[in-house]
Subunit: 211 residues, 2 copies
DNA sequence: CAATTTTTTGACCGATTGGACAAACGTTAG
DNA sequence: CTAACGTTTGTCCAATCGGTCAAAAAATTG
């Protein structure tokens, strides 16, 4: 997909500094949101002055936009990998696992995305209704095929995808709450393995007691 | 629980105007976050001047604090209702239904809460580790009892509660995304009934095809 | 070296922010 | 009526915001 944005040629130093800024901006934006973050905060986190930062990104929004476009690519990678080859139940299980791993390894990206959606997705609405919808529709069709073939239970594929997104991203977006509720004992590093075990069972068998 | 905050006596007009402000602030805070919202925005939404608003709430934070405390009470009501009387599977099913109804009927409250948690819960952290944890632990114990009695499948009660929160609140917090992906046809008012049907099946039977 | 280009910074600007304050307004009680 | 009290607003302020600009500093080139 051509976004119409031409990437100008850049020196090696420019590339590195831009990466430094994006890394700092990810940290700041993901915890304070777009409007809650200041250029000064990002500049300080990147170890440079505000005018210097503005030399690499002319506007605050440019940083955010670059971050969002880059994010969406990696963020949807697990769903893109979901395909018709292999056992359906295994395919879904590994999709859930991959999504949970992303929540564990890239919580800032998850929160950045959540912040944007929460506030009405003013900056990426076209992407949601376009690229994202197309991708989800495509994968929903695959899942529907599995259902018709009797490989998995018949249900709504779109809401199934929503539920996978919701349950996995919850461990990144609501991390403070999860850790607060689990307490110091169970809220440690093991919480992701516990979550993985639980989700596997939920999506496989549900809660009905085994006959 | 005594918060230590004394509620001063207020005239009838003060009560009404304060309600008006809180209603407006809920609208603004829930879509822009705390730092992204301005007193002017809230004042305009409430149909009064900024100094007039500051006559009823001395500081911007006072409005947010009042909103958050009030919110937590109503927000946790469904979980409080979960008790040992009645059939476990029915209890859980109606908890899920009630939570989904709250996401449908009070999306602004859900988003206000999500905004706060996303940003590290700086203003309600003690409540999470205190009141909330106590309540969840208590209900987790009840659920554990059901598991021991063989009434529902054995799994992690805490993560079960997380998954119910995540899947239901998703329809409030990520509403724009849900509607964008479902498209104009399926993204209409019926989406909550579709979600209810799906979630019921997921939590009951999971995805494994019926033998 | 000198000339040129790229990078960095201090100083500054207009706009917006949360909030203060006194004066004006409205209402009610005597 | 008038005095007292509760309510509303216009004006103002210091702090912070995103962003500009010229000039200094550093790096690159010849």
């Amino acid at each position: 997909m051509n976004t119409g944005i031409e990437a100008p040629r850049r020196t090696r130093i420019q590339q590195e500094k831009r990466e430094l800024i994006l890394e700092a901006a990810l940290e700041v934006f993901s915890t304070h949101g777009f409007r809650g973050s200041t250029i000064d905060q990002i500049a300080e986190a990147a170890g440079m002055s505000k005018p210097n930062l503005l030399y690499y990104f002319r506007r605050k929004e440019d940083i955010h936009e670059t971050l969002m476009h880059r994010l969406l690519d990696t963020w949807l990678a697990p769903l893109r990998e979901l395909d018709d080859i292999g056992d359906p139940m295994t395919e879904l299980r590994s999709y859930i696992r991959r999504k949970l791993e992303m929540a564990r390894d890239f919580p800032r990206e998850s929160r950045l995305f959540a912040n944007e959606i929460l506030q009405g997705a003013p900056r990426i609405m076209p992407l949601l209704a376009g690229e994202l919808k197309t991708l989800v529709d495509e994968k929903a069709a695959i899942i529907k095929g599995w259902m018709r073939a009797g490989k998995i239970a018949k249900t709504d594929p779109w809401h199934l995808i929503f539920s996978i997104w919701a349950t996995t991203q919850h461990y990144a977006d609501f991390d403070v709450q999860v850790r607060a509720v689990l307490g110091p004992n169970r809220g440690g590093d093991g919480r992701f393995e516990d979550a993985a075990r639980f989700l596997e069972q939920l999506f496989l068998d549900g809660l009905k007691p085994k006959g």
